[in-house]
Amino acid sequence: MSRLALRKDLSLRCARVMLTFFHEEWEMEGLQTVGILLVLCSSLKLLHFLGLIDFSAGDSIEDDFELSTVCHRPEGLEKLQEQTKFTKKELQVLYRGFKNECPSGVVNEDTFKIIYSQFFPQGDSSTYAHFLFEAFDTNKNGSVSFEDFVIGLSIILRGTINDRLNWAFNLYDLNKDGCITKEEMLDIMKSIYDMMGKYTYPCMQEDAPREHVENFFQKMDRNNDGVVTIDEFIESCQKDENIMQSMQLFDNVI
């Protein structure tokens, strides 16, 4: 009880002090103080602005110049010819197109997404482009150089059917652990369906990707362990006529 009373007393006393402070006589003085403080602050800021005093502790923004342009040159034409199955002329054409879009010599993921989205204006192709980027970026450094690009293309367009299937498996296997789980496949499927966009005929069902994944796993998963390994994948694909036929499409792209 006494403590409460003490506290009450204290607060009352504080209030009284504050009141006296803000009393008439003090009012003018208070404003005076405020004015003087204002002038002081502004003069300090002015001096700092003029460069006479330095306030900042640490590096200022101007020192923060990071090299934004990274230039990358691909290896020689002959070396690329050895690594890929393209002819010299084809490499030249590919490089010209590549360099036109990416003058710095490397593609980063954003540019990749932008370029890919130009071919699919109706839907959202960014997720699929992301997966593609991961597949092309073999050394995992966040950018695709011309060599990566052309090596990947070489496998798809000039490789054997097995090579192509291998590459496709690599694309599906998001965490690169050698087997495709249902979740990974679902992600891939959703990204493919996203590319179609919203306005399709017939209207896209919500669970269409999931159904499609179920179909896929039924076809591919031989031992029904819930994952598809590379051998299961290649075996099942080789048995499927449609897939074999569609793989032939890539022969004439370039």
Partner: protein, 655 residues
């Protein structure tokens, strides 16, 4: 279409490998490339400068000239390149568009030339990149405004048949069209000035009666001022009513600013007449007199500068609004602060915040009357901050308004100067171009002269045609064919610059006997109707005309000669025309005196008469000494010649 990244299409197609294993049905067959064309270099020769690029670069934009098969029209087989006869500098930016996908507008390029180039190559200007689009749009707008000014000028020269109302309206809008309008313009201006000065002088204290204080002139000479006021208002009312009558759209006229000013200027007088000297409304009456000062705004019809100022203020409305808003904000803030700062001081004039407004405004606009000054230290500090910030707040929007005004003013000045120089410029251009428009008639004369001379002198006159190029001769042949088709003759030619058509024919009538007489005068005569000389020609033509009233053959005309030619036409004796094989009918003298425009419509219907004239001056190609023997001969022969070569023959003979 992803034409910009067409080079990446193989990649996109390759990336489709991800879909194949999950697809449940077979893929459609791929389109086959019929000719596996290797990418090749194309040479584009633009006025001699060779540009080279890959074919695929150009194929990126198939809806332009270079990207489609349209460029095959420009293919040159021998040199195996595409030749374009265009400006190579502008072509650079066009080709860069294909290479980079972005179209840039070069600043040094003329805007209409650039537009033409883009139109030629089938590129729409809207795809100019953001970096250059602003500049492009600005220049385009500027150009359009300039052209619009010029077009408005052309619209002023209307057709001669306007009814009274339209004439009056035009007189009101452009006082320079007729003397009456100019007189009216000056009279109204004078009366506006008189009215304004009257209003001002009315309030001056002029002379005091000995026992009273100074009396304003208005009360001393009431009758005089009343009469003057009445006169002015009468003039203004008449003017307003006339304008209302003449306006093409009365409703729009009544809503226009100038008419509202007019009404406001004259209403107080009428209201004053209507109202008697009631005590309760006299206060309002006094207020109404203030509106008489609006008469000064009537001057804006007379002064272009005022109009520009008004237009500028209207167009800078947003800047002005911002200025006002920021000032108000600052005033309120500083007034509040000053009030509280000065509250403690004993004899403070800052009695309330609104009272401090006056101090703040006076300080911020750096007027500093000194009727209210802060006395406390805090007040003084805040007062100084107030004055410093006042300068800034006012100085910021003002340059925007100033630059707007400057731009509009200069534009107007330029438009005026252009208009003033336009007539002189067009006259000069017309003189320079006279040769080409006359060339047809000249060559026709030459041709006819040729025909006539063929009978006498066979081979001399071939050199007459040496100056006309193939193009010209083909053009003349075309016009001649048209003449033959419609069985009329061309004799007036409208200028390229769209000026009023020449009211008199290029060719004048010639009286044979007089012509013979003139021929005797030899060299002087031979030189006079030269096509190229104007001044010397004018001299001989007009002096000759004044002396003998002979219509000289003159091929070159300027509008200054119109009067003399109509005169000359009236003097002609006759035209003798033969059309086809009909017997000739001569037109009566009266028909010769009618206006040339109507004359042209008197066609040959079928094979009837055409009125047409041809003069036989000595052509410029003739050497002077060849003149003597060249000319008289045909004159002796026309009455007897029946040239069978052409069915329409024109004979000029005296009745």
């Amino acid at each position: 279409m992803a034409t910009g990244v067409a080079a990446w299409l193989p990649f996109a197609r390759a990336a489709a490998i991800g879909w194949m294993p999950v697809a449940n049905c077979p893929m459609p067959p791929a389109p086959r490339e019929h000719s596996k064309k290797q990418d090749e270099l194309i040479i584009l020769n633009v006025s001699g400068r060779r540009f080279q690029t890959w074919r695929t670069t150009l194929d990126r934009y198939p809806d332009t000239l270079l990207g489609s098969t349209e460029k095959e029209f420009f293919y040159n087989e021998e040199t195996k390149e595409y030749f374009f006869d265009r400006d190579p500098d502008a072509f650079r930016s066009v080709l860069n568009f294909y290479r980079t996908g972005k179209l840039h507008y070069p600043r040094y390029e003329c805007i209409s030339a650039y537009d033409e180039e883009l139109a030629f190559f089938g590129i729409i200007p809207e795809i100019i990149g953001d970096c250059c689009y602003e500049e492009y749009k600005d220049r385009k707008r500027e150009n359009a405004e300039r052209l619009m000014d010029d077009q408005e000028e052309n619209k002023d020269s209307r057709l001669p048949n306007m009814n009274f109302r339209e004439t009056m309206w035009r007189a009101f809008e452009n006082p320079h069209t007729s003397t009456m309008a100019l007189v009216f313009y000056y009279v109204t201006g004078f009366f506006i000035a008189v009215s304004v000065i009257t209003n001002v002088v009315e309030t001056v204290p002029c002379g005091s009666t000995p026992n009273q204080k100074d009396v304003p002139c208005g009360e001393r000479y009431t009758v005089a001022f009343f009469c003057m006021d009445t006169a002015c208002v009468m003039i203004f009312t008449v003017e307003y009513l006339l304008r209302l009558f003449a306006a093409p759209s009365r409703y729009r006229f009544m809503r226009s600013v100038m008419s509202i000013i007019d009404v406001v200027a004259i209403l107080p007088y009428y209201i004053g007449l209507v109202m008697t000297n009631n005590e309760d409304v006299s206060g309002a009456f006094v207020t109404l007199r203030v509106f008489r000062v609006f008469r000064i705004f009537k001057f804006s019809r007379h002064s272009q500068g005022l109009r520009i100022l008004g237009y500028t203020l209207k167009s800078c409305a947003s800047e002005l609004g911002f200025l006002l808003f920021s000032l108000t904000m600052a005033i309120i803030i500083f007034a509040t602060v000053m009030f509280y700062a000065e509250k403690g001081s004993s004899s403070s004039k800052f009695t309330s915040i609104p009272a401090s407004f006056w101090y703040t405004i006076v300080t911020m606009t750096t007027l500093g009357y000194g009727d209210m000054v802060p006395k406390t230290i805090a007040g003084k500090i805040f007062g100084s901050i107030c004055s410093l910030s006042g300068v800034l707040v006012i100085a910021l929007p003002v340059p925007v308004i100033v630059s707007n005004f400057s731009r509009i003013y200069h534009q107007n000045q330029r438009a005026d100067k252009r208009r003033a120089q336009k007539k002189a410029r067009l006259a000069r251009i017309r003189i320079a171009k006279k040769g080409s428009s006359n060339a047809y008639l000249q060559s026709k004369r030459n041709g006819l002269l040729n025909e006539l001379l063929d009978l006498t002198v066979k081979e001399e006159e071939q050199h007459m045609n040496k100056t006309s190029s193939l193009l010209e001769s083909q053009h003349h042949h075309l016009l001649h064919c048209l003449e033959k088709t419609t069985v009329t003759f061309i004799y007036f030619i409208v200028d390229d610059y769209g000026l009023q058509p020449m009211k008199t024919p290029k060719i004048s009538f010639v009286d044979e006997q007089l012509y013979e007489q003139n021929c005797v005068e030899g060299a002087q005569f031979s030189r006079s109707p030269s096509l190229s000389s104007q001044d010397g020609f004018t001299g001989t033509c007009c002096t000759r005309r004044s002396r003998k009233r002979i219509p000289l053959p003159n091929a070159s005309l300027s509008t200054t000669h119109t009067h003399t030619h109509t005169q000359g036409l009236q003097e002609l004796s006759a035209i003798h025309i033969q059309c086809g094989d009909q017997p000739s009918l001569s037109t009566s003298r009266s028909s010769l005196n009618i206006k040339s425009s109507e004359r042209s419509r008197i066609n040959c219907r079928g094979q009837q008469i055409t009125t047409a004239v041809i003069s036989l001056p000595s052509p410029t190609n003739f050497p002077p000494d060849g003149d003597g023997h060249g000319l008289p001969n045909p004159l002796s022969t026309p009455p007897t010649i029946n040239t069978t070569s052409s069915s329409n023959i024109v004979k000029v003979s005296a009745l």
